[in-house]
Symmetry: C2
Subunit: 475 residues, 2 copies
């Protein structure tokens, strides 16, 4: 039933594929299916067809947008949205593709690998160099959208209580760095100061977002229960996040060199790649356990791994880790972005009553993060690009809104109502979609644009920018 | 709760990791979790920790066994069994690792990629050259174990009816080619005639197994319903399998060259790898839809893809497809074998009453496939290796047994009883474990052994074998 879409799309390639599952196996029934699962046949064949479709639309979408001189990631997002739109005209199978646990997990692993790759291309020392800028950018990028969101909520939803306004403000804070990281990598700009500031600020943002969520949700729960917010809980969360980041740096410094020297003695195939990925997944898991996003852990893992640790492997003539991981990323990363597009709920745009609030929230989300560009303390940095790179809210905003939908506060009549009602949730969805789609072209434009008054020392960077742009148009 | 194992194993690496999921997120509750899932956070962090653990034990196990001059795959299987054994001493989390849908799906994708890689290293014309041998080997390897299994069942389980004996015979028929393909690849022997015969026979075996299952299960269901077996159903299944194989060859001949010539014009990163994998997953899905194993489809996809199709890419200086897919395989293939080891139910060995039947079935399974070596019509082929390569039953035997457990027949008292009872199922599990573990060392030994009376024309092959063995001992 759910498989009807894919034969339709691929009917030209093999006429036989629309045949139903062999009746003999299907007739095995519930128990046989369970037996089969226990025996390692847990894979729903739908996943295979779904991945094949995702791979094809990702490449077609990416290619089309690259030819239009836009980042491939925008093409992947829009390709996913187009497939998702088929659900609106009643094509079956799209809903399964959108919600399938295995495809969702592969997409998440894809973005984890993307941030690991980005971390590998960055370097801890260089990241710490821009530490102050990153901290200030992150703080500015949290404070400004927070108060803007509060104000908009107070204007559009006067019947909501203060805690409700605060929660809506909080959903505008977090930065979802996946899109930005991908655009920066597609344009070959990961090595720039702007990129380091954005990535560092995104990590700090995740910590700040976690704290804000803890404070706001704690206050709401305490208020609903008639009690007071336990500040010790918030302190514990802050402690854990900071402990994770410091711990990752210490592990990188003291454990990783020994680990890879030991593993370098292994002779079997693929050991460098496998052990590195194990390290990445391990830190991503630890990050999730302390409440941070798994991608923060993956980025940290990439940051603390360094070419110097792989001497043993390079001496043997093995390929670089970045070379080895590239094919894995090339397969899985687009799954994330197509899936993100698939999950866009286009019907939100058809709810006229939402559009005013949605537009106001979107503008606040975009303008609010432009304050970041004022917080850069470094000289010779393309401030515009930093502000644009911080725009996307992605899934983080939705998670905040989802938690808001699960919390209740008594309204004026004393009846418990969700802090984020369905209408506000719809507006948040639109804000997330727009900030996600706007970022790739805006960031590309921002990076290519030379800053109006080049400060001393920036001339080289500007010259380089010009060259890059020239090289790109040649291609 | 289920996460307790991993911190234990990894406690040395990060003390902070045993902290529970941040209470603020956990407290979001059901609705928030749903919201989160819809927003792309469907990944259970357990998967990350589980994969990290699987990667590490796979590499440690593989390395140990390679140093003992055994195929790495045996080390991966046994590493998985060791982790699985921790469940017996009460370590939590192992059960989740064993049954997690996402990890199971990744393992299945791993074996699909393995067979795709094996197919890429093979070539359709060469496969068809050994067609007759493969057909005869497959037939002999199905007929002999079938009657041996029937006889053993009649001897050990006289109370069971004829259809029951037939079903037990059927569980001994199928060959699970994953282990053999991996051993052949690890030893660099995929290009030999023996390998081609084994792989071809395994594909035909899958078709024959499907037909036997259809006939036997159909007869049992018809008998339980008091009707007769509808031969037209069996004919339909046969037709679909053959149509799939012929269709794959035709697609390879007529569609693939055009497809890759078109795709060769794409400029974006990773297009060759992604489109090839999409093709592999698509054929694996079609195979599953007609009732064959997905790995048969993946193998067929690899077989029909040929270097010649990738001219456009090679001319641009892109890496070979085999080079690109190797890292993906290096990551995912070991997941399958560790998972296979994890799923071994060691407690089956402690049920003494099973061991007689289990031993008899195992011997029948091994001896039965040695008849294959007599069916090789080619000259100059290491017949012993062909017979040994056909031994493993893997998950296919378990799926048969699982379907048997779901079918019922009236016993002497007229009460409906499962065709395969728990005791017989346990014996089948032991047979599968032993045939799986025995194959890697046996096949390695068989390949290194020169045949006792070299036939004319075989001298070169023998000399090559000797050289290879010498080269290996140097390493």
């Amino acid at each position: 039933m759910t498989k009807a879409l894919l034969p339709t799309l691929a009917a030209g390639l093999a006429g036989a594929c629309a045949l139903p599952l062999a009746p003999v196996l299907a007739a095995g029934g519930g128990e046989a299916a369970q037996g089969g699962e226990a025996a390692g046949h847990g894979l729903d064949p739908f996943v295979l067809a779904g991945l094949a479709l995702i791979f094809v639309v990702a490449k077609v979408g990416g290619e089309l947008f690259e030819r239009m001189n836009q980042p491939a990631v925008l093409g992947e997002l829009i390709a996913g949205m187009c497939v998702g739109a088929l659900a609106l005209v009643g094509v079956e199978g799209v809903e399964t593709l959108r919600t399938h646990a295995v495809i969702g997990a592969l997409a998440e692993i894809g973005v984890i690998i993307l941030l690991f790759e980005v971390g590998l291309e960055s370097n801890l020392a260089e990241m710490l160099e821009v530490g102050w800028s990153a901290l200030l950018v992150a703080t500015a990028g949290v404070v400004a959208p927070f108060f803007l969101g509060w104000g908009i909520s107070a204007y559009f939803l006067p019947e909501e209580g203060t805690l409700g306004h605060v929660f809506i403000g909080a959903t505008l804070c977090a930065t979802s760095v996946g899109i930005t990281a991908r655009v920066l990598r597609d344009l070959g700009r990961l090595q720039t100061r702007e990129s380091r500031i954005i990535l560092g600020a995104a990590v700090i943002d995740d910590v700040l977002g976690l704290l804000i969520l803890a404070v706001v949700a704690g206050a709401i729960r305490a208020s609903a229960a008639g009690g007071a917010l336990a500040l010790s809980d918030v302190g514990l969360i802050a402690l854990k996040s900071v402990a994770f980041l410091v711990g990752a740096v210490l592990v990188g410094h003291f454990v990783v060199p020994h680990l890879f020297r030991g593993v370098g003695r292994f002779r079997s195939r693929g050991v460098l790649l496998t052990v590195s990925l194990a390290f990445c997944f391990f830190l991503a898991w630890v990050a999730a356990e302390v409440g941070l996003a798994p991608i923060v852990g993956a980025f940290a893992a990439g940051l603390v791994l360094d070419e110097a640790h792989f001497e043993n492997f390079n001496r043997r003539g093995e390929r670089d880790l970045e070379d080895l991981i590239a094919p894995v990323g090339a397969v899985l990363v687009p799954v994330f972005f197509v899936q993100m597009g698939l999950r866009v709920d286009l019907s939100a745009f058809a709810r006229w009553e939402l559009l005013g609030l949605a537009a106001a929230l979107t503008v606040a989300a975009i303008i609010g993060k432009q304050v970041c560009s004022l917080a850069v303390v470094e000289r010779g940095v393309n401030r515009l690009a930093v502000g644009l790179g911080m725009i996307p809210r992605g899934e983080v905003g939705l998670i905040f809104a989802g938690i808001g939908a699960s919390l209740t506060l008594p309204n004026a009549q004393g009846v418990a109502e969700p802090v984020i009602g369905p209408a506000v949730f719809g507006a948040v969805v639109i804000m997330v979609i727009v900030t996600t789609l706007v970022t790739p072209p805006a960031l590309k434009w921002g990076l290519q644009r030379t800053t109006p008054t080049p400060e001393p020392g920036q001339d080289e960077a500007v010259a380089e920018l010009g060259e890059d742009a020239a090289r790109r148009t040649e291609l």
